[in-house]
Symmetry: C2
Subunit: 384 residues, 2 copies
């Protein structure tokens, strides 16, 4: 069994005074402090980062981290667009299945705000197909097509989308590390400018800097010394076409459905067993699709679920979604996001989610997506 | 035990009529044909590529490969600079230790010749530290410093370096897929223009396009149906400082030493047991250092070893090095290189190395380096 024994996140936001590796160093130091471990206790590192190459011409970050920490252990850089963090968790979990008595540091980071919006948007578009890039489709553009089809097919409107933003900004207001900590209203979302019809500014996750680290272990000695532990029951990954045009329909993300089905099966759980979930709400429409694809409601019912604020903290629902604020309000430093999701579930399952602690949560789920669904990872965790 | 059951390589060279994913498709189709397997037999894919992001703005290649092959299986993109291929082999080997009855496709590819020399050189420099990049140090520059120190300390000269090029071009002349298939002389190397003193054009590996695939499995049914099999005894990875200035000395590559030591230990073998080795000769000096760091000779003796052509095919030596032609003559499409090394060892151990078959080889070694030694992977294989 793979245990999660610690988590640290930097603040997410426009952190102009810090470089990518300043952030990496802060989160690694932070998680070692939180777990009272020394770097010598770490056997291997997985590092999730998407844009270091295209934005800063920095590849080979394994060697950079070796230099920062003064270690010679294996360090694996993982890139799977916006799912890089989730894929790193997935790989680390697999790694621990192959090695006994081992301890793995999983760190994710992204530095996105030091560049012009054009540069960052171009960098992010590297997660889309060449044809999509050449036709000028950015990610708001791709997700706006998903939103248009969904709203039309199931007869929802922009207010439906906006309710996701309202809920997640409320959650962000309870998270000191969130990029956006202000409550917003439906009218504020609807009054914000269009990015790509029907998505408005406040339907979109922000451009962010940040880094997160978790420590996973199957070393019983280290587990025995840990104060706050939860376990990974399953972590599964699936892929799909990079191009939206090659999908059978535009109202679901098959990679999420496949990864979820495998992850439920491997853990022996069902959607109704999950109390808390961090889902990939890069745009408001994405959370609605995730509700359906993860089996939390039937096809077409996601809009109804979010409109009722059924998954909002403090409303007594059976499933609370994106207590961190999600990508939408907590921020989306791409490589860090999938680690933050697992970290937030860890905080919830170990009773450390200050201001936003969901009571009696036994099972949590983290759902991380790359691009427009070309990759998805679903990880299910449990409290002890 | 992890078995290698098949290998395919495209030709290496300036393949202007083919895109990165044309090459990927050719090598995947090729290895499936060579093994009589269907894509449905593959459980997971590791894809090694360094420069798709920085040169072509193409990340998220997992989803691109999912689209190409029509599969939803996990696909992991691996990047560790010039060691990407070796790291992919290492990760795939670890993966198979955690999953029984599984079959893994490892594919590596790089497309480097569609760009100006300035663009490709800048892209490759992403494997060096920011400080090294800013000071204008390219990889020939970094390795020239290693060469200067080595020649001075052990009293060798440019002829010593040139002998590595002569040997590897001879081997390349025996390999139909090599980028350079012409024999060269010491004088030709010495008469070629300087790139970075003491390294001349013919001391440097070329800029290349190419793709390679291998299939690894622990599925006994698939193994039973395979005609040509060798086994991976150990695959180990180590990291080191990205910056040369932070190394204790410049006459060895500690990451190679550590990875080799771990790999020998895990396989129960010693350097003298190895009959064939593919080592990372991105520049001639690199092969000399590798001879020492891999334990094939003592410190300072690498220059003597290569000057005598002791590791050249057809000379009856106990250890033959870089029968493929190495990076130097076979070419260096970065993400493919580490896969090609394992593939060449596979060909040798299974008696398929046309024109250059080393007799009675039982154990082979593949050695892949990232940057100036920030990463190294050493994989040891055996015939059945």
């Amino acid at each position: 069994m793979v245990s999660v024994i610690g988590y640290y996140t930097t603040k997410f936001g426009e952190l102009w005074e810090k470089s990518l590796f300043n952030l990496v160093e802060e989160s690694i130091t932070g998680v070692l402090n939180n777990t009272s471990l020394d770097i010598k206790d770490i056997d291997v590192i997985f590092f999730a980062n998407m844009l270091g190459g295209v934005l800063e011409n920095n590849l080979h970050s394994a060697a950079k981290i070796s230099e920062l920490l003064g270690v010679h252990i294996p360090i694996y850089r993982v890139e799977s667009a916006c799912a890089s963090g989730g894929v790193a968790i997935n790989m680390a979990t697999n790694y621990l299945k192959s090695k006994s008595n081992s301890t793995v540091l999983v760190v994710g980071a992204e530095k996105m705000t030091d560049f012009s919006p054009e540069e960052t948007t171009l960098g992010l578009s590297s997660a889309a197909s060449g044809e999509e890039q050449q036709s000028g489709l950015t990610f708001p553009g791709l997700y706006s097509m998903l939103a248009q089809v969904y709203l039309l097919k199931y007869r929802y409107n922009q207010k439906t989308l906006a309710s996701v933003a309202v809920k997640n900004h409320y959650h962000g207001s309870l998270n000191n590390n969130a990029q956006h900590q202000k409550i917003i209203t439906i009218d504020q979302v609807l009054d914000s400018p269009y990015i790509a019809d029907p998505l408005k500014v406040l339907d979109c996750s922000p451009v962010s800097d940040g880094s997160c680290s978790v420590i996973l272990t199957n070393n019983q000695k280290i587990i025995n010394k840990s104060n706050s532990i939860c376990q990974i029951l399953s972590s599964e990954m699936a892929t799909d076409t990079i191009s939206l045009k090659n999908r059978k329909n535009l109202v679901s993300i098959p990679s999420t459905q496949i990864a979820a089905s495998k992850s439920y099966s491997a853990s022996g759980l069902k959607p109704k067993d999950i109390s808390i979930a961090e889902v990939h709400d890069c745009f408001t429409i994405a959370e609605i699709l995730a509700m359906e694809d993860l089996g939390f409601c039937r096809q077409g019912q996601g809009g109804k679920l979010v409109s009722k604020y059924a998954t909002m903290f403090g409303r007594g629902g059976k499933l609370i979604v994106n207590t961190s604020g999600g990508l939408k309000a907590a921020g989306h430093p791409v490589g860090a996001t999938g680690i933050k999701q697992v970290g937030e579930v860890y905080l919830q399952l170990t009773g450390q989610a200050v201001n936003r602690q969901v009571r009696n949560c036994k099972y949590g789920l983290a759902h991380n997506v790359g691009g427009s669904g070309g990759t998805a990872v679903v990880t299910i965790l449990t409290s002890l």
